[in-house]
């Protein structure tokens, strides 16, 4: 039982990060049909900026704020400089642009920061908490709690604010949204800024556990993308469930079956699910709009 709980704790912590990355994918995908492969880089920017700001003597809360703002600014620039000028292009072209942007951001991070791994001190100490025999780091609760707060805040934003509803309207039908007076270009820009902020927060929360470096984004983008696909591309709840599932699959795969095939196991399950349910667990079948 203690083992089971330990695997759960590990899977949920890692899974929460995948979920936040998947959520970032979903928000941008809904607003613009673009799968933003630079999503992982936002996680990196969040972690690395916080590390370097605290190293420069900035107190942690201020460093966190700087990191989130930096990521948001880069998200906005990514939209304004790379996505917006190519707005007539096909989604495939836009996806390739985001891959290029992710390589560019990684290269930039190598120069602005450095090529080493870095860590942050845990927010509330390193003494593990004993839950039914499983030893869980306090930071894990920060990650899970942070993910929960983000999900609730997003829900409120989309359902309780006019701008949020404008985003939903754009996601539903861009042309109709434009006809009723919604500035869709602003909405798409907003979705990039929002995704960047979510990614950065995930990066900051998880750095004390998993460490960070200029190139952690690639793998996170891959896992987050897999999670989004598993949950159903475009469905925010699906992204959360998909992320947590991928995390749990990895932890249980490594714990109960074999650590050698840990990654393979998660992907085999995802493939099997997509084989039976091509739109993911909570996805809708896509309808061709005429």
């Amino acid at each position: 039982m203690a083992e089971f709980l330990q695997f759960c704790a590990s899977g949920l912590t890692v899974g929460a990060v995948y979920a936040l990355v998947a959520l970032g994918f979903t928000i941008i995908y809904n607003a613009s049909d673009v799968v933003n492969f630079a999503q992982g880089e936002f996680v990196m920017i969040g972690g690395m900026t916080t590390v370097f700001a605290t190293a420069a003597g900035v107190p942690l809360p201020a460093a966190v704020l700087i990191a989130i703002l930096a990521a948001m600014a880069i998200g906005l620039l990514l939209h304004r400089l790379a996505i917006e000028p190519a707005r007539g292009a096909s989604p495939v072209t836009l996806i390739i642009i985001t891959i290029g942007a992710s390589i560019f951001l990684r290269g930039l991070a190598q120069i602005v920061f450095d090529k080493q791994f870095h860590s942050l001190p845990s927010f509330s100490g390193d003494t593990p908490i004993n839950i039914g025999g499983a030893l869980v780091l306090p930071q894990s609760f920060w990650v899970l709690g942070g993910a929960l707060v983000i999900v609730i805040a997003l829900w409120a934003f989309f359902n309780r604010t006019v701008i949020g509803k404008a985003v939903l309207a754009t996601a539903a039908n861009r042309l109709a949204a434009r006809l009723v007076g919604i500035n869709t270009s602003f909405v798409i820009g907003l979705s990039f800024v929002l995704s960047a902020a979510i990614g950065a927060i995930a990066g900051i929360l998880v750095t004390p556990i998993t460490l960070t470096s200029y190139d952690i984004g690639t793998l996170l983008a891959l896992k987050g993308f897999a999670a989004a696909m598993l949950g159903g591309m475009g469905n925010p709840i699906g992204a959360i469930i998909g992320g947590l599932l991928v995390g749990l699959l990895e932890a249980f795969g490594a714990g109960y079956i074999s650590s050698t095939y840990k990654d393979a196991m998660a992907f085999i399950v995802i493939l099997a699910v997509l084989f039976v349910m091509p739109c993911g667990l909570l996805g809708r079948a896509s309808v061709e709009r005429v």
């Binding site: 590990s10 890692v14 190598q110 390193d126 030893l135 998993t210 490594a254 650590s259 050698t260």
Partner: protein, 385 residues
């Protein structure tokens, strides 16, 4: 198709060898030595200090009058740990730059990709990568300076035997280094009466190893755990190890022998043991240690010039360059074959990695005494006897 390119490559390499010999006969004003290092990319923590070291010392040698009255000219390429690029650069070093010897190859993958090029061209190649396959079986023109992973396993098992440990668990990275060392440890464990009860792995970019360690913790009778790997993986393993409250000794490999490991693992690193070169504990060596002067000299120069803490990886480049320079002096010529013969005759060379005694059967020339067993105490290395 692959065959076809192989043939082309071979033909090109042979014709280049002829060209290179021709060029050497013309005796230029400078002696060209080449290098391909992983100065960026995933192995940049190896290539970066290696590149800085080579440049630093070539400059110093030139300021002191060069070798055999000629200035050295260093040609360095950055292969970013990509074996394909490394091979391309190797060909370029031989064909375009016409170097007479090469010190480089940060990773085992890059090294093995370059080996055939230098073997065919007859250019002496001193590798800076870890795995034992580089020099076993012996290749005529290939040498290396870093200790092998096999030696690291033997050193660890030797220490375990002293502490009456015989049943262990292993958690290894699946990257090239971790995988190779895991195999070597499995291979030599029997010689030391060590039984491996748990054998777990993790991916080079994994961020959480508690599931694997939980499994090891639950395996009955384990007296110690070994973690072959480098990069951030071992730091996370060490942190997870303490998180789970596993109380048997944890052994890391020489792959984490740099200050950044202690910084990353933090307090969790207390009590971790690992085999490493004397360079890491330069100031703590007894004064009568033959390596003392060499390692403190290198450490001071590197830290003053670059402003960064010294790592053993840069030391491998120092050893490689100095072995080559001494061989060139003894050979008194720029003929690659003559230099090769002299490198093989290296005896009693004291470098940062240990005392090197090469022979026709041993193109590494280090023995177990080159490793010191270290323990991390109060955030610093201490020597265990």
């Amino acid at each position: 198709m692959a065959n076809f390119w192989n043939k082309i490559g071979r033909a090109a390499a042979t014709s280049v060898a002829v060209l290179a010999l021709g060029a050497a006969a013309h005796a230029a004003d400078t002696i060209k030595i080449g290098s391909s290092l992983s100065m960026t990319g995933p192995a940049s923590f190896l290539g970066d200090p290696e590149g800085k070291t080579l440049e630093m010392y070539v400059e110093e040698i030139n300021a002191n009058g060069g070798v055999n009255g000629k200035q050295l000219e260093l040609v360095v390429y950055d292969d970013a740990a990509d074996a394909n690029s490394a091979r391309t650069f190797a060909t370029r070093l031989v064909e375009d730059d016409e170097v007479i010897a090469v010190v480089g190859g940060s990773t085992t993958g890059a090294t093995m990709a370059m080996v055939p090029v230098f073997e065919d061209a007859g250019i002496p190649f001193i590798s800076l990568a870890g795995a034992v396959v580089i020099i076993d079986p012996v290749k005529e023109y290939v040498f290396k300076t870093p200790h092998t992973d096999r030696m690291a396993c033997e050193k660890i098992f030797e220490d375990m035997k002293k502490n009456d440990i015989s049943k262990i668990g292993m958690i290894s990275g699946t990257g090239g280094f971790g995988k190779s060392m895991r195999g070597q440890c499995m291979d030599v464990a029997g010689n030391y009466g060590i039984e491996i009860l748990a054998d777990e792995t993790y991916g080079p970019k994994d961020a959480d190893m508690t599931p694997q360690l939980t499994k090891i913790k639950g395996t009955h009778g384990i007296q110690a755990v070994v973690n072959p790997g480098f990069g951030q993986g071992p730091a996370i393993v060490t942190r997870n190890y303490r998180q789970l409250g596993i109380d048997v000794p944890l052994y890391q490999s020489h792959g984490v022998a740099s200050k950044s490991f202690i910084d990353l693992a933090g307090e969790a690193a207390e009590g971790v043991r690992l085999p490493a070169a004397a360079l890491l504990v330069a100031e703590k060596l007894p004064d009568d240690d033959p390596q003392k002067a060499v390692v403190t000299g290198y450490k001071t120069k590197y830290e003053e010039t670059t402003g960064e803490p010294v790592s053993t990886f840069g030391g491998h480049a120092y050893d490689g360059l100095m072995i080559l320079v001494e061989a060139m002096k003894r050979a008194g010529s720029e003929d690659p074959a003559a230099i090769r013969d002299e490198i093989e005759k290296t005896q009693g060379f004291i470098g940062t990695g240990g005392t090197v005694n090469m022979s026709a059967e041993d193109h590494l020339g280090l023995d177990l005494s080159a490793f010191k067993m270290l323990e991390i105490k109060d955030g610093d290395w201490t020597i265990v006897n």
